[in-house]
Amino acid sequence: MKQLFYLCITVMLFATLNSCVAVKEYDKIDLNDPDMSLSARNINHFETSFQVYREGASGANGGKSGGGCGCN
């Protein structure tokens, strides 16, 4: 049930976010700053690996979500 609830929230957000005002390419100076990237930093590669090994959770971060090792 909880999973269904969160899925609904996600779908609603998908529907509403698409209506945001479009920012023109020439106005994206701040958004294009490397610190604004919507992905984990490359330097965190092995940090994420040890978290996958040591924690029960994994995934939902744009990276690998399972398999490739005998870890949980």
Binding site: L17, V23, D35, R41, E47, F50, S58, G59
Partner: protein
């Protein structure tokens, strides 16, 4: 006249179309990737703790890992990029070493091929001869087997290697990107083969991006078992032969066990890994949306199904409703769970056993906000749930601060909390009537705090060069991780990004 008019109109149309085509063919198109880029990352990881899973939830968890990763991204043409990603990771682990805790400096332990009679055990789950049924001598030197000190067995260290090839193609307008990948990895008890694909679509003047990914990992165990369990099977369940020949076994009251008694020690289950496959299937969906000129957001959801042997055959379990038996110094038995125990080891009741399927569904979100030219806010949250009973929350925050046009400091904090898996119980808390059981504290209930600090150097003009490689970025980061169960870890990472001229 009509025909002339028609032909004239036709000529004008064709001429106009050709002009359009010509104009398009002269239009400048930026490459997806201008130059070959090389990313190098190395890290040193160390951890310590007192709940080693290989020794049933108590014992030394000390582990050191050195790893390196290289990614080479090559622009094939204007629209396509080919990437090669390779990782090597070498670790030493006190916990893994105690797969055979009887192999330590000062003992006369020999690992011989004469005991590796695989044909007698083929029907028992395909144990691997290389893990070594051992002959033990009664000449114990300065110490004995114990979960609190590492042994010098072959399982003490290992190397994990991985290679991934990735190819992506972007449409001319850069609004569609498709990609595919294959990967392979290997370590002494595990190998993996994976493949997958991805599709990204950009909308709304590239303010909105939707990504779909699918991956399959077809993995195989090369199982290694606790030495007393597979030695018992090798010896055809005869405690007077093989590994156990001449070895004294004590009970909880420090009395010598009668090896011929019906109440003598034996594993609860002598059927080991029956299906060595361990497959993972994942589908990922993400949405990235620009909120304003200073803010953007990503949402992620994955669905992961795992099937096969999902337990770790190296990990011991002890049952609270079964008698305890030991090899080593009987006077240390009362002190077994204390670190002062250096010379007695409890024989396992079984290996960890977990269900053959697992469904994982994590939801994640990233939100970044450009506060000003100096400061940016980066945040991340994830809710995770699976059908083993684990629910978790992850939240992190990072504040990159530009101290100059080239240097950025980025402190970070991460909080993690999870509930326990249904099948987890600490050392000696499981019952032999349970179907599934583990004492792996990675599946227990706990909170963890992680503090990190990094410094980044960026030179977009890549003035510093090594051969043809211009140095674009250097990153150095340290993170400290602490669980409320006692595990603590630290990792330092160093990364370089080069751009080839």
């Amino acid at each position: 006249m009509k025909n002339i008019s028609f032909l004239t109109l036709l000529f004008i149309s064709i001429y106009g179309y050709s002009q359009t085509s010509t104009a398009t063919s002269k239009e400048y198109q930026k490459r997806v990737l201008e130059n070959t880029e090389v990313d190098l990352i190395s890290s040193l990881y160390g951890q310590k703790g007192d709940n080693a899973a290989v020794t049933g939830g108590i014992g030394n968890e000390k582990l050191t890992d050195i790893a390196s990763n290289i990614i080479v991204s090559i622009p094939v043409n204007n629209n396509n990029v080919f990437s090669i990603n390779a990782t090597i990771s070498a670790y030493t682990s006190a916990s893994s070493s105690n797969l055979n805790p009887f192999d330590y400096a000062g003992s006369s332990i020999k690992s011989t091929n004469s005991d590796k009679n695989e044909s007698t055990t083929k029907n028992k789950g395909g144990w691997n001869a290389k893990s070594g049924a051992s002959q033990i001598s009664n000449n114990v030197a300065n110490r004995g087997a114990t979960p609190w000190l590492e042994s010098t067995g072959a399982s003490r260290s290992d190397v994990w290697v991985n290679g991934t090839f990735d190819y992506s193609h972007a449409s001319k307008n850069r609004n569609t990107i498709v990609g595919g990948n294959i990967s392979a990895s290997h370590e002494f008890d595990y190998q993996s083969f994976g493949f997958g694909g991805s599709l990204a679509k950009l909308f709304n003047q590239k303010n909105t991006e939707i990504d779909l990914k699918g991956n399959v990992y077809l993995d195989t165990w090369n199982p290694r078992y606790p030495t007393e369990i597979h030695s018992y099977i090798v010896a055809n369940e005869d405690l007077n032969s093989g590994f156990f020949s001449g070895v004294t076994i004590y009970d909880q009251n420090r009395l010598i066990m009668d090896k011929n008694s019906a109440n003598a020690w034996k594993p609860i289950n002598t059927t080991l890994v029956t299906n060595k496959k361990r497959n993972s299937y994942s589908a990922s969906f993400s949405l990235s949306q620009i909120i304003s000129k200073k803010a953007q957001l990503s949402l992620f959801v994955d669905v992961v199904q795992q099937k096969g042997w999902l337990s770790n055959p190296m990990q011991r379990v002890y049952f609270g409703d079964r008698a305890n038996f030991y090899i080593g110094n009987a006077s240390s038995i009362d002190n077994y769970t204390s670190k002062s125990n250096t010379d007695v080891f409890q024989l396992a009741d079984d290996i960890e056993r977990l269900p053959h399927t697992r469904l994982k569904i994590p939801f994640g979100a990233r939100f970044n906000y450009f506060i000003n030219e100096k400061l940016t806010l980066r945040t991340y949250y994830r809710y995770y749930s699976d059908d083993w009973g684990i629910n978790s929350h992850t939240a992190s925050i990072e504040l990159p601060f530009k101290i100059s046009d080239k240097f950025t400091l980025y402190p970070s904090y991460r909080f993690y909390t999870q509930t326990a898996a249904k099948y987890f119980a600490p050392y000696e808390q499981h019952l032999s009537t349970e179907q599934f059981y583990t004492s792996d504290y990675d599946l227990s209930k706990y909170n963890a705090n992680q503090i990190g600090f990094g410094i980044s150097y960026t030179d977009i003009f890549t003035k510093r060069k090594i051969w043809k490689l211009g140095l674009k970025n250097v990153d150095l980061k340290y993170s400290n991780y602490k669980r409320n169960t006692g595990l603590s870890a630290g990792i330092v990472s160093l990364g370089f990004k080069f751009v080839m001229d």
